[in-house]
Subunit: 398 residues, 2 copies
Amino acid sequence: MNLSKRITAMQESPIRKLVPYAEAAKAKGKYVYHLNIGQPDIETPSSFMESIRNFEGKVLAYSFSQGIPELIRAIIHYYKKYDMHYEEDEILITNGGSEALLFAIIAIADAGDEILVPEPFYTNYNGFSSAVDVKVSPITCKAEDGFHLPSKKSIEDLINPRTKGIMLSNPGNPTGVVYTKEEIEMLAALAKEYNLFIIADEVYREFVYDGLGYTSFGNIPMIQDRVIIVDSVSKRYSACGARIGSIASKNKELIAQVLKLCQGRLCVPILEQIGSVELYKTSEEYFQIVNKEYQKRRDIVYDALNNMPGVLCKKPTGAFYVAAKLPVDDAEKFVVWMLKDFHVEGSTVMLAPAEGFYATPGLGKDEVRIAYILNENDLKKAMNVLKLALQNYPNKTI
Amino acid sequence: MNLSKRITAMQESPIRKLVPYAEAAKAKGKYVYHLNIGQPDIETPSSFMESIRNFEGKVLAYSFSQGIPELIRAIIHYYKKYDMHYEEDEILITNGGSEALLFAIIAIADAGDEILVPEPFYTNYNGFSSAVDVKVSPITCKAEDGFHLPSKKSIEDLINPRTKGIMLSNPGNPTGVVYTKEEIEMLAALAKEYNLFIIADEVYREFVYDGLGYTSFGNIPMIQDRVIIVDSVSKRYSACGARIGSIASKNKELIAQVLKLCQGRLCVPILEQIGSVELYKTSEEYFQIVNKEYQKRRDIVYDALNNMPGVLCKKPTGAFYVAAKLPVDDAEKFVVWMLKDFHVEGSTVMLAPAEGFYATPGLGKDEVRIAYILNENDLKKAMNVLKLALQNYPNKTI
């Protein structure tokens, strides 16, 4: 009586596996600055809970498998701002972006198929893929290049008859990279040339800094039959616990097929859908305020890292992550050491070691992801702790 | 650019695929008695929404991947009534029973493996299995036997090296069968002998009538390392739209592995978990009232069916379904005919054709599932419509 190979082979969350060390540190009275997880501290717009409190139904019944029409329409309206135009039968509401990703993977790939993913990647891309026997084929991106894509040729070399799609987040988690229009067009051309789907995880769409432009895969007309846009209210409206995501595609056959998976799980909770209708009505001003805040934090983290000897980090321009190379032997050991053996006046820092964000063995061993989801003041203190930790870590490499 | 074989091969929901005919009937002013879907009309206990309305968090953050401790403890407490004893690390909260089933299937079976399922079965067993390349191997049960299990020998004949488990609902959907203690023990013995897991979907545990006893797979000590109990608040507390389910198993390694899948989708919505804590505190009296109501309805449907010439139906003793053989050429055609071409004073009835509940081709063609989820009065009217429809259907077989 053995468990399946696919579940035992599935990667454990590199973000969550060090949690016991953080718990132990806290139990000893240490204060831990959590920069390891993408949980924003920004308040969820109050319209979310207000609309849920007003729910008057006597029977909390099943709802539409594709999602409630009000939410689908709210998302259609939202996309118009980005010059993306969907009809009601081109959108499905999902249990977070996570379910959207899982369903998209199942829809485009059979057991044994491959999906190209720029690495380092959001670790659940690998988790979900291996749970359903799909292989992540990594396109290696480098800290030195600010995690921008390598040449078209080097990506072409990875394509084989079992390659079914390209999956990526833009802006990027864990790197904060925002792909240029040229990069998006290069991938679009590859998709067309090699007959691939594109699973475009654009949940950080609003989080682009320095006045940079943003190109969605939804903006490239020639590939709309092969683009699957994954979205979520989690980061956009700081509503991670709502678990409301969506799939959008102009490929109506794909939507019809994924609807079968949606019918299998019957429906997404109705209350959060009602709340999310209000979230999608949030004013533009909200994003201006939030973005200004994140950009300020990004600057604090980036400037601090750049003043630490031996740290390599190009300035990221999106999401709320910085990926950096540290002058340490092993980033996971370093994080554990900070939690177990180090503190500055009773405080320490938790980061996400980046090795788990890579599929290529050995890569990312000296890298970390820092999520700048604390206020300015705490972030400055946390960066100071990190700086001192790097000075004091016994296995530093400079 | 093709969609995956597994998604295109996935069965469409037989319950939902006739919905357009019902919509068309309603558009023409017909009243449709919906006996086709397991959506109870019973009110959700008000404690659910009350506790949600009191939620005061400013940031709707991610929560524990395994579920909130309060809900896990509430479920542990609930199980004690049934002499089932779990610890906190033996329970995971899921997005409905649906996700619990999907995760359990992935955990015990690899692509190409098989799971034994008594047919007719809850159609999503097949849907989820084929979505992840697992084959449902049907144990055929017959209307003539009240859908009780066939002999041990005939089940043994279905087992081969790729058989990894047995999956079933008890009480049964779509049949209303409640397996006897002897049947449960027979399956337990088979599981032990052939080294199989048992995925026991017991979401209708409370809905057992006629004072009959109920044996859970959680009550057979010798197999607790191989039993996975799937549960849900959907039917138990008439809270289908909450999408709160759970997995319970004394096999801690299995729970640890499934937790990786839970971490992949981050968490289950926090609000419904808070509401469900209150649901699990619902008094015993609630079930007595609800059960009395369902038993009365069961009697109305069963008595009415037994008075229709040519209908075959053994008295079911659980859940809120009756599966019956009708004297028609094709139950799906008959249901469509009722929606399109038949009415009694402007009313008609929608049932679920049973063919989609079978994996063996050709079986169930003249069978339907009737969900008795309407009040007594409507149910009587609906049964009268069905009786007259059977008299007037042009392709009847008697």
